[in-house]
């Protein structure tokens, strides 16, 4: 078995807002990403998914503080020199940002913006770059490449924009792509199309993919491994199929239950939801973070922080139910 491509150890991030206080966004995350593997990270908004994505590339705002380590090719990305990091960003680890509508410069042609990625990392002549850009655009499924190359952001539809940022991400054939909610801003019919495109590209080039989402349905049948985040912690991880079929953590169960309810066509008036809210990250309470909303809570849950247990091989869960 090959060693992990990316190794995250005890990653902690907190934001220090100017208004005072501190917001613990990630609390002691441990995870490994294997080469060529599709890892899904599942969580509600506010669970720290996007923070994780930007921490891996050290793109956090200045108000954030992080500790722990993110090891990639033997190098800790959290302490690496900026110049070294720049060579990794885009060429070895690429990010597909959340919202392509604001992740592309509105006053620069998209072809040029793809070409800039190539220019940042590869020594190619202008005409070679042009040709590569066209290849990439074909690869992400464009037919009228001539129009797209010279188009501005506002001339593209949502799905086209998403494909442009995917083209940017795969431009240098990275070994890891981090996709932060790649379908959240899209029409639901486009979800499958974009996911299929992603699945295809990563399979073709044996790229590892870290797919961050709030929607379990898009991970089904796509992700190899699944991690569930809640309030800045990984609460469950394991092979995607077994987690989906038999979730261990009450939160995972609720989340996956919701999506089943949703797809079976419930009326909008009773859209299912998990009762309660994510805990306020400004006021950290003792005990399990999910305890106030948990339907299976026990007395100890309010006072004891759950450890990570491994009730079955290759499955990890942070819940006191599996304590003994």
């Amino acid at each position: 078995m090959p060693g992990p491509l990316l190794h995250v150890k005890d990653l902690r991030v907190r934001y220090l807002p100017e208004s005072g206080g501190k917001v613990q966004a990630l609390e002691g995350l441990n995870l490994e990403i294997l080469p060529g593997e599709v890892t899904g990270i599942l969580g509600e908004s506010g669970s720290g998914k996007s923070t994780l994505a930007s921490t891996l590339l050290r793109l956090l705002p200045a108000s954030a503080e992080c500790s722990g380590c993110v090891v990639f090719e033997g190098e800790d990305l959290l302490t690496a020199a900026e110049s070294k990091l720049r060579r990794i960003r885009g060429s070895k680890i690429a990010l597909i940002p959340q919202d392509p509508a604001v992740s592309l410069n509105p006053v620069t042609r998209v072809g040029e913006q793809i070409s800039e990625v190539l220019r940042a990392h590869l020594r190619l002549s202008r005409s070679e770059r042009k040709q590569r850009v066209r290849q990439l655009l074909v690869e992400v499924g464009f037919e009228d490449v001539d129009r797209i190359v010279d188009a501005y952001l506002h001339q593209l539809s949502g799905g086209q924009r998403q494909r442009v940022v995917i083209a940017q991400a795969i431009a240098c054939r990275p070994s890891l792509i981090i996709a932060d909610e790649p379908t959240s801003k899209l029409h639901s019919e486009l979800h499958c199309q974009i996911l299929a495109l992603l699945a295809n590209t990563v399979a073709q080039h044996d790229t590892a993919l870290l797919l961050i989402t709030h929607d379990p349905t898009i991970l089904a049948g796509f992700a190899d491994r699944l991690m569930v985040m809640y309030a800045g912690r990984l609460i469950e991880q394991g092979p995607a199929e077994s987690v989906m079929r038999r979730p261990l953590h009450p939160y995972t169960r609720a989340l996956i239950g919701l999506s089943h309810g949703h797809t079976s066509g419930n009326r909008a008036s009773h859209l299912p939801s998990i009762p309660g809210e994510m805990p306020n990250p400004l006021h950290v309470m003792p005990g399990c973070r999910f305890e106030p909303r948990c339907s299976e809570k026990m007395g100890v849950c309010a006072t004891t922080d759950p450890q990570t247990f491994s009730p079955e091989s290759s499955r990890l869960v942070s819940c006191l139910k599996y304590g003994n």
Partner: protein, 337 residues
């Protein structure tokens, strides 16, 4: 539509003024330094169409004679005005030696549209040549200011932290300074007896460097907000270097502020040069500038008796108003685009 017409008129007027100043040698009938002691403080020459022999299609003028109580026209000889008259030699655009002027009058008459100063030098010619100096001072000093401000503002906004605090702290200090006294102080510190060319350079550098604070703060603000834009973060995520991010995504955003700023700074700096020259700290005689031309008006009797010597003040006001209008228009135009 009305706005568009107004804008066109403004642009045309501005271009004409600049062309007139650029080709000062051609449009000025005389050498700005040529003295004519017989015509000290001569009033503006009057242009006639009707003489003793009736109406003439071509305008003409008379020679001036000094009387015991001022100047009087010598009506014995009508002297026609000419277009493209031969006159004093000058260098056009610092290259071409010419003698043809746009208009002029034969001797003994002198066509002094705005009268003459104490040494009998033609005020109109001096106004054009002086405008060259004053406007060049404004433009170059503005460029210097904006270059300094862009560098400081960008570094401050982009790198933040202690660099930002230090730079913006000194910007506040510069804003709090009473800039006029500061300018006078700095100018006084520099050698007094230097050639007009060196004075000019010193002057624009001093004016230009002092004014960096306000535009630097503006640019810092823009860079600060542009830096966190998603596409800038995305570009950083694909490995764009700082220089690339600045050049490609951040600096273009500052242009919308830089251009109106420039049009505001130019008249301000023209006035600054004029102020310093007015107090004798700027461009020195015999080279004319709008400021040192006005400095003779420090004498009360000159101010009340020879009102035509106020012409540079009029030119200053008109140019400034035109630039301010342009800044205003540009501001709205850039906002709506």
């Amino acid at each position: 539509m009305r706005n568009k017409t107004a804008m066109c008129v403004l642009m045309i007027a501005l271009v004409l003024v600049h062309l007139a100043l650029l080709f000062a040698g051609f449009f000025a009938p005389y050498d700005p330094a040529a003295q004519n002691r017989d015509l000290s403080y001569a009033p503006p020459t009057r242009i006639h169409f009707v003489g003793s022999t009736g109406f003439h299609w071509g305008p003409f003028t008379y020679g001036m004679v000094k009387d015991f109580d001022g100047y009087r026209e010598d009506q014995s000889q009508q002297i026609p005005l000419r277009l493209f008259a031969k006159g004093d030699s000058y260098t056009l655009l610092w290259v071409f030696h010419c003698k043809t002027h746009f208009f002029g009058a034969d001797r003994p008459a002198r066509l002094q549209l705005f009268g003459a100063d104490a040494y009998g030098r033609d005020e109109f010619s001096r106004l054009l040549y002086g405008g060259q100096i004053s406007l060049a001072a404004g433009l170059v000093a503005t460029l210097i200011t904006l270059a300094v401000a862009t560098i400081i503002g960008t570094v401050s906004g982009y790198y933040g932290k202690w660099i930002d605090e230090m730079l913006m702290g000194s910007a506040e200090l510069f804003l709090a300074l009473p800039w006029f006294y500061f300018l006078v102080g700095v100018r006084a510190f520099l050698p007094l007896h230097v050639s007009p060319k060196e004075t000019f350079l010193l002057l624009i550098i001093v004016i230009g460097v002092i004014g960096w604070a306000r535009p630097a703060r503006l640019i810092r603000g823009i860079v600060l907000s542009a830096r966190t834009r998603n596409y800038v973060v995305a570009a950083r995520a694909f490995g764009g270097s700082d220089f690339y991010l600045l050049r490609r995504h951040i600096l273009p955003e500052t242009f919308a502020v830089l251009i109106p700023q420039a049009t505001l700074l130019i008249p301000q700096y023209i006035a600054a040069e004029a102020t310093l020259s007015f107090f004798g700290l700027g461009i020195s005689e015999p080279v004319p500038s709008w400021g040192n031309m006005l400095s003779t008006l420090q004498q009360y009797n000159v101010l009340v008796s020879y009102s035509w010597l106020l012409a540079p003040a009029g030119a200053l006001v008109i140019t400034s108003v035109m630039y301010w209008r342009l800044a205003d228009r540009l501001h709205y135009w850039l906002q709506s685009h």
